[in-house]
Symmetry: C2
Subunit: 205 residues, 2 copies
């Protein structure tokens, strides 16, 4: 059952969002998680490859193991949900028919497949991992905004040992692990976010 909730407009969500590391004990309804993930998975990616994969972890023992892999950070265990965002370019490239638009048929479809394979043929494994991670961060941007818009607090994390996370979840050796995201209903305000002024980052031509 789709949870129909008031969802913030994108601007308010972006301006309001802070990283949240303390959560109420309340579980996050699966229907809500599905609704948010369905929207996040609409993120665009180059060639529509969608190399991102997500493990939704709610099991206490797995969260405890992930906490150790994240150098003991308490919120990984305390959050009702931890998302493990990983990127599997090999799986995406092995199933191009799943992602090439159904409107592209025949010779055009075969030509697109070959062009995609050629683009990655010369890339070593680290470059492939970095490429797929990059695309997965587009999804992460969508996801963080959507979580805020639905009233959930979250913190994206890079502070973990990817090999331990890989082992805990049995992820393929070629997969990159761009981020963990701990999330739940907020039980703190979080730090006011501190950003560079627009003029420091944006040039006008």
């Amino acid at each position: 059952m789709e949870a129909t909730l008031p969802v913030l407009d994108a601007k308010t969500a972006a301006l309001k969002r802070r990283s949240i590391r303390r959560y109420r004990k309340d579980p996050v309804p699966e229907g809500l998680l599905r609704e948010i993930l369905e929207a996040a998975l609409r993120a665009p990616s180059a060639w529509n490859l969608q190399p991102w994969r997500i493990v939704v972890v709610r099991d206490p023992a797995t969260k405890r193991a992930l906490r150790e892999a994240a150098f003991g950070q308490a919120h990984v265990e305390e959050a009702p949900v931890v998302l493990v965002l990983y990127a599997d370019l090999e799986d995406a490239l092995a199933h191009l028919d799943e992602v090439i638009h159904p409107g592209v048929q025949g010779e055009r479809r075969e030509a697109q497949k070959q062009a995609i394979q050629r683009a990655f043929a010369a890339m070593g494994q680290e470059a492939r991992k970095a490429w797929a991670s990059g695309q997965s961060y587009i999804l992460l941007g969508y996801l963080l905004l959507l979580l805020e818009a639905y009233g959930l607090g979250s913190v994206p994390m890079l502070g973990f040992d990817p090999e331990r996370v890989r082992a805990i979840l049995g992820l393929p050796s070629h997969a990159a692990i761009p981020a963990l995201v701990a999330l739940g209903y907020p039980a703190e305000e979080g730090y006011p976010s501190h950003r560079l002024p627009l003029e420091r980052v944006v040039l006008w031509r």
Copy 2:
């Protein structure tokens, strides 16, 4: 003057968004661009480094040159605005005082600076570029959702020669160029987006 416009909720924006490559001739008001960019720049990044930089290109001659760098794709010249998203980790690392939270002072501040420098010390230039690009894609996710929410059509692009874009805009040699984004008021519907089903991408633990 901040343009107060109806802004879509984040879910509707995510579900509705399609890549748009044809635009009305109407210019995009600078106030609106600033409002959208201010919100997008709230995106989180590891250590709050914000390695992203954006060149907002509206000048016809520059857009024409970017079109050539993008293998002749017409929408790069026809769009009222093209954003060039680049990543400059060296600039970010050279100005850590600008990004470390003002709430962190004294020894803690110095320790954080050293920890950040150590994290990148062992990284070669390609790995540094990939890392900064990855973070910039989080901003790209925010940006694409916000553009849709404000009623602007956009298409993120990877199909360009980064060295030619670098030369056109005079960007530093160490900068990565994760994407161009052509945008404007939509003059087409765009292709219905085609995504993998949730169960293909999400595992529940």
